[in-house]
């Protein structure tokens, strides 16, 4: 049978359903779900979402631990033309409420315990997993397990590749997190591109170790769906569970961020005694692997045939470049921080401040052109115009309707066309694979009501990327134990990676000439002691 053309996320499902209906699509703990299960239960949940008033283009929040239900929720939303919004399960109520307000999410599918933490009337309808939530976070409640057993859709809604498929929330260098509006086409083309260079097949058993709210974590699901492979859900991030999952399921591929590999290396002895001979590839994203760790990973994995892909991507355009396994030697510090070449069907330009193409060896901004360029930031015209701009190298005969993404990353290209990452100019903090803007941390600190002024910044620490450091002044001069109370508030109201490693107190924070808190000065004073 001829496969369907791939326009939407659920087209990917139908093709795998036709070729491998009874094969495992998702394995969650001891439970195994086939492509037929995914079709049937996403149809039932789609019908229930439509019944609760979700229309085409509406957002459906997904506040679930990584689970079968979280997978079904994405496909169900797609089938009724709605956009799913995967929420970081580490978020506490203030971050969830911000996101619900930012993209006007009225219906959410969530774990009961997380839904209970939300303020009254946050949602119109909540689909809960677990016991019925107490409190008044939503106007009405539906048991998601029941909804997934109900009657299915008579037919899918009319959905095209131009429709909004999902919103991926990401932190930038300033302000609160922004929602990257990602079309069905972006999702499908992203899956096509990644599954092409990773050479995924129905025989693959892919370990999902990253959260689904993270672009690369979600991309593992979409590529697995397209390939008709099996996706194994791993919630734990402890090295023992990771090792056991890799062995028990004979995993063939896994994508991770640098801290995950640090955990894997902890099992060096076990890996040497009993190599992972089924593991076909690992792919890194979300930052550079410290060279010592990369060398060790190569020693532990390459002899038994595992290939190592190094990827570079920005949420605003999904994936941008990758360094193929046979070129991995180029990423050593002596060679410079090589991020490889553009992914298939994509063009990476290096643009100077004057707006022309940089010569080999000349620094410029990485600018991404291709079919994964997203639709912009949801509800944020200013930020969208700044990052999504006309193609600077477009032919003059063509009207500049095409948008490309300016990454904010400085790179250079060598004579052979390989790209090298040189740095970022802004204050974005990267901690444990998560991106954070200093303002998010500062707002959280100020939210305690105990803090008068706050300044947050990142300090390099190869083990985690950057440590979050905060310098604050206290309201009313502070009282005994105030720092402990601030710290306790932050732990209770923010995800762990947002909690500063150190909180330092000053009577007053230094200001710049324009009266703003001098983050640069404070951060360099900290670094030089």
């Amino acid at each position: 049978m001829r496969p369907r053309p791939e326009f939407t996320l659920h087209d990917l499902l139908y093709n795998s359903l036709a070729s491998t209906p009874e094969k495992a699509a998702v394995v969650d703990g001891d439970a195994r779900y086939t492509y037929e299960d995914l079709e049937r239960e996403s149809s039932a949940l789609g019908a229930a979402l439509a019944d609760s008033g979700v229309g085409r283009g509406d957002r459906v929040g997904v506040l679930l631990e990584k689970s079968w239900e979280a997978i079904v929720a994405m496909v169900a939303s797609s089938r009724i033309g709605a956009a799913y919004v995967n929420v970081n399960p580490l978020f506490k109520a203030p971050q969830v409420e911000y996101l619900v307000g930012d993209c006007d999410t009225r219906v959410m599918i969530g774990d009961s315990q997380k839904l209970e933490e939300l303020g009254p009337k946050t949602l119109q309808t909540a689909f809960y997993r677990g016991a019925k939530p107490e409190g008044h976070a939503a106007g009405s409640y539906v048991d998601v397990a029941e909804a997934m057993k109900g009657d299915g859709l008579k037919e899918d809604r009319k959905v095209s590749e131009s429709d909004l498929g999902t919103i991926l929330y990401t932190s930038g260098s300033t302000g609160m997190p922004k929602g990257v509006a990602t079309s069905q086409r972006n999702l499908v083309v992203g899956a096509q591109i990644v599954s092409t260079y990773l050479e995924n097949t129905p025989e693959d058993r892919i370990l999902s170790a990253l959260p689904l709210n993270f672009d690369a974590g979600m991309s593992q699901f979409t590529t697995s769906l397209r390939a008709g492979a099996a996706l194994y859900l791993l919630r734990s991030r402890l090295p023992g569970d990771l090792l056991k999952a890799l062995r028990r399921h004979e995993i063939t591929g896994v994508t991770g961020v640098p801290p995950l590999w640090a955990l894997l290396i902890r099992g060096a002895r076990s890996l040497r005694e009993n190599p992972l001979k089924h593991l076909r590839y690992i792919a890194n994203t979300g930052g550079r692997i410290p060279q010592a760790n990369l060398d060790e990973l190569r020693n532990l994995l390459e002899p038994s045939g595992t290939k190592i892909f190094l990827m570079y991507g920005l949420t605003e355009a999904f994936r941008s470049t990758y360094l193929a396994p046979e070129e991995i030697w180029r990423s050593s510090p002596e060679q410079g921080n090589c991020i490889g070449k553009a992914i298939p069907n994509t063009e990476i330009m290096v643009i100077t401040r004057e707006g022309r193409e940089a010569a080999p060896g000349e620094p410029g901004e990485l600018v991404h052109r291709g079919p994964t360029v997203a639709m912009g930031y949801w509800g944020n015209e200013e930020a969208t115009r700044k990052a999504y701009r006309p193609n600077p190298l477009a032919q003059p005969e063509l009207l500049d309707v095409e948008r490309v993404v300016y990454s904010g990353d400085t790179v250079e290209r060598d004579e052979e066309g390989y790209l090298y990452f040189l740095g970022r100019e802004d204050a974005m903090i990267k901690n444990q694979g998560y991106r954070l803007s200093p303002e998010e941390v500062e707002n959280l600190l100020l939210g305690s009501g105990l803090v008068h002024e706050a300044c947050a910044f990142g300090v390099e620490n190869p083990a985690v990327g950057q440590d979050v450091i905060a310098v604050i002044s206290l309201r009313n001069g502070g009282e005994d134990g105030a720092v402990d109370r601030v710290r306790e508030y932050v732990i209770k109201n923010g995800p762990p990676y947002m909690v500063p490693k150190e909180i330092l107190i000053r009577d007053e924070l230094p200001k710049t000439g324009s009266g703003k808190i001098d983050r640069k000065g404070i951060s360099s004073a900290y670094s030089t002691g």
């Binding site: 734990s236 991030r237 090295p239 023992g240 640090a262 902890r266 076990s270 444990q432 985690v464 762990p496």
Partner: protein
Amino acid sequence: MVSSNGDVRAAIRGWLQENVTGGRDVPNDEPLIDNGVMTSLQTVELVVFLEDTFGIVVEDEEFDEENFGSVDAIASLVESKAA
């Protein structure tokens, strides 16, 4: 090396108070992983502390959520090794 069960739990709780919770004492049965009390990197630091303090070795495969889910679970692991 370990004089009583209480000492192991107290030592773990002390370490958590100092390095993770910012002074808050953690009940012995509070879930540490599900609630996001500890990050995976903090768990790695905790293992180093346990190995140094109690003279034990935590095997790679033992370093999982079952053994590190609560103060009680961690103490049981330590006690089974120190016995």
